[in-house]
Amino acid sequence: MAQPVLTFTDRGIYCPAGEFFIDPWRPVDRALITHGHADHARPGHRRYLATHAALPVMRHRLGEISAEGIGYAEQRRIGDATVSFHPAGHLPGSAQVRVEVDGQVWVVSGDYKTTPDGLCEPFEPVRCHAFISECTFGLPVFEWAPQAVIADEINAWWAANAATGRASVLGAYSLGKAQRVLSLVDPGIAPILTHGAVEATNAVLRDQGYRLPDTAYVTPELKAKDYPGALVIAPPSALGSPWMRRFAGASTAFASGWMALRGVRRRRAGDRGFVLSDHADWPGLHQAIRETGAESIYVTHGYTDIFARWLNDAGWQAQVVPTEFGGTEDEADALTEPEAAS
């Protein structure tokens, strides 16, 4: 049998024919990066390749890197492999990576969601022989409501707070979730304020031409009472910090797929939890896997053991991708890791 197109090493997913890695977690010579989240785009590689749309944020986060851009669906030869990037629908610029060697096609999904959100490039299924899929929410308890329903919930919560002059502070990761929330809310309700980490990312994405509503950045001098009833978007970690003091009395909320679970919602101790995820839910994972036409499925990130067993029961050839920590599923790494989990 021919050598597999991709192998799993202690540095991450590797293509022997092209001598490159995809989203490696230790420094390598050549890294193909699916998107800019910290657990996928790590510092220290010698050469980076990512979509034109993903690069500005990566440069913003990683500083001076030697990186090359590539258009969606543009084919490139690396060694004996042909690679191309295809929209993953996870956040602006995010991609799946297609790798072809001697007629064998493998696809690495990165993080993805199958339903369009109106902001990022919508997910496109890619036919392949083997599909390496994330499964952060690979359990049948996760099924997302349509985005419009969640948008209504967020707007109603914000409007009710604004009516009484209270601020509404929403915890959302600074890259991806924050901009998705911004694109969903009704800017007519009241002013929108952003934490510095969110605003810096907004600036990068606005420069690229992604359309976001007007926001004001929360400077140390900003007086909350000048913005009555404002919606404040901040990274989740800011909600328990001294930064929050200026919004005393605010209603607090989080937007994440994990908010589907009452236990997690209560542990977060915000007033509200909005079930808004940039990952595929249970039906979305199945749809994506079906549409690849792949015979072999490799699962990673999330409830991998359970999801692989389920796929095998359902007739696929499924295996778990070994992870950095000795090959066990690590559900709460997804819960605790800053950005993988949103």
Partner: protein, 532 residues
């Protein structure tokens, strides 16, 4: 059930007590009387008898969702709540109507009368007619433990707001053996109180922990000191020629403790006494260790041998009712004088005796007496202001418990398991071990005492340091040392270590100690010899 689901949602969407109380009060103003009655019942720990077991529920949910059973069972520990897991995996309802809460409870109660196939059909029918929140609540009604962030105290406060009645009056009305089947909202809440039945106890008055030195309490002569016994707080009622025994958890324990039947022979009707139920060592004239009482608690009917080996008595703290008169408003000093007069001179076979006051002139002297509490099998001392009324619930100011410092050992964590509910996905349940030569011998489990941040840190560590899995239990690298605090220590043939602890918890994470520096089993045996 839409109004009840909306109430739940309002409560669940806030962390503010005032908002929860307002939502409940609003429900008590607008809902149907029967639904109000059931809501009061649910939030005071009363629930419909379980008609379906959780195994059946899982199977039926898997069948309805078109999923294998193992997959539903894998989801359960991750979600942390079976009722919620089932609500989440089921397909959307095919039709929806708005039948009241009471309708669904009645449906559940009626299941007892039909066979398993019919139960199955009715549960599936209910799931098919309820939306996600309603389903979750419906499942909660079946699986029990209706804890959704509303304490009985909050519920009582809301009811007071809605009805204009005083909170303590309502708290008293809600005590006792009523169920929604045996009363109505009108009889329980609205009718004049005289209609109450003879079995109804008074709400217990609970003390706060005294954290500072007692000097701050003022002059010693204003205070009564007595031993804080390690038993079950209880009330013995003698009314209408009958007797009733209630635990603080409002469990009727009359049959469990037949010794109290004789109380009627010694005390007049119309008497209610608050005290501590303890297993009593007649020869030593002091309580037996708590595990003697433990054997009694678990049994609804008591074999003769156990009645001989672990007889119970009430060490009486307070007199709440005499000659049918509620004495709770008169000063403690007067109540104690009446109690002493009532119990002094009773023969030794009477199942009650007064828990004596501790004489002391200075706080220092009391501190010295308190230090001897373990010798008497007491947990510490109680301090009660002599002019205090008998209030209801936990109130600060007049009553304090001044417990002994706990015993502690430094132990190594060897197993970890995930919690459930709010603690789902966090490792919160741990097994600890002590050294015996080069081996670690497990001796205690503990679940509490760490901060959220510490639970997060240990969870991340457990995931990366798992050596082996046994179902949900993970064996971890023996590396972390925790100080384990506990209230009492007893020999126990049922434990591998030969020792049982009372109320063990993690009092400190000993980052400063390596596993090798933890205590040995011999150290624990020394504690057993000194305090057991």
């Amino acid at each position: 059930m839409k109004d009840f689901a909306a109430l739940f949602t309002a409560i669940d969407q806030t962390t503010r007590t005032s908002v929860k109380v307002a939502a409940l009060a609003d429900f008590f103003r607008t809902a149907r009387d029967h639904d109000k009655l059931w809501t009061i019942a649910l939030f005071s720990g009363r629930r419909p008898k379980r008609a379906v077991n959780t195994t059946q529920l899982r199977e039926w949910a898997a069948e309805r969702a078109g999923l294998p059973l193992w997959l539903v069972e894998e989801c359960y520990p991750i979600v942390g709540d079976l009722a919620e897991t089932i609500a989440l995996v089921l397909p959307p309802p095919s039709r929806q109507d708005d039948l009241p809460l009471t309708h669904w409870i009645t449906t559940l109660r009626a299941l007892h009368r039909v066979d398993l196939d019919a139960r199955h059909a009715r549960i599936l029918d209910a799931w098919d007619r309820l939306d996600a929140t309603e389903r979750f609540l419906f499942n909660k009604l079946i699986t029990g433990g209706f804890r959704i962030g509303v304490s009985r105290k909050l519920m009582t406060r809301a009811l007071a707001q809605a009805t204009g009645q005083d909170e303590p009056v309502l708290a008293h009305k809600l005590m006792g053996g009523w169920t929604p089947e045996t009363t109505s909202y009108h009889a329980l809440i609205e009718a004049p109180d005289a209609e109450a039945d003879d079995s109804r106890p008074y709400p217990f008055y609970l003390a706060y922990q005294l954290d500072d030195a007692p000097e701050g309490l003022g002059k010693p002569e204003d205070w009564l000191a007595e031993w804080k016994w390690d038993g079950i707080r209880g009330q013995v009622l003698i009314r209408g020629g009958d007797h009733h025994v209630w635990s603080r958890g409002e469990e009727l324990m009359t049959d469990r403790f037949p010794e109290f039947a004789r109380a009627k022979d010694f005390l007049p009707t119309g008497t209610v006494i608050d005290g501590e139920i303890v297993a009593w060592d007649e020869d030593a004239d002091q309580p037996l260790p708590f595990n003697a009482l433990q054997q009694r608690i678990g049994r609804k009917t008591v074999p003769k041998k156990l009645l001989r080996e672990a007889p119970v008595i009430l060490l009486a703290y307070d007199l709440l009712e005499q000659d049918g008169q509620d004495l709770r408003d008169i000063p403690l000093g007067d109540r104690r004088a009446r109690l002493t007069a009532l119990l002094d001179g009773l023969p030794p076979e009477a199942p009650l005796r007064a828990s004596g006051a501790i004489y002391f002139e200075t706080w220092d002297a009391l501190a010295r007496t308190r230090a001897t509490a373990r010798d008497l099998r007491a947990e510490g001392v109680m301090l009660k202001r002599l002019d205090s009324p008998y209030l209801s619930g936990r109130k600060k100011g007049d009553w304090w418990k001044w417990k002994l410092d706990p015993l502690v050992v430094d132990a190594v964590m060897i197993y970890a398991q995930q919690g459930s509910g709010r603690r789902a996905n966090l490792f919160t349940d741990f097994t600890f071990a002590l050294w015996q030569d080069d081996e670690l011998v497990p001796f205690a489990k503990a679940y509490s005492g760490l901060t959220d941040a510490e639970f997060n840190a240990i969870t991340a560590w457990v995931r990366k340091n798992t050596l082996q899995r046994f179902g949900p239990v993970r064996q971890v690298r023996p590396e972390h040392v925790f100080e384990i605090a506990f209230e009492g220590i007893q020999p126990s043939p049922r434990h591998k270590s030969g020792i049982a602890l009372r109320f063990p918890r993690m009092s400190r994470w000993r980052h400063d100690k390596t596993a090798r520096e933890a205590n040995s089993l011999d150290d624990l045996k020394d504690l057993l010899n000194a305090f057991g």
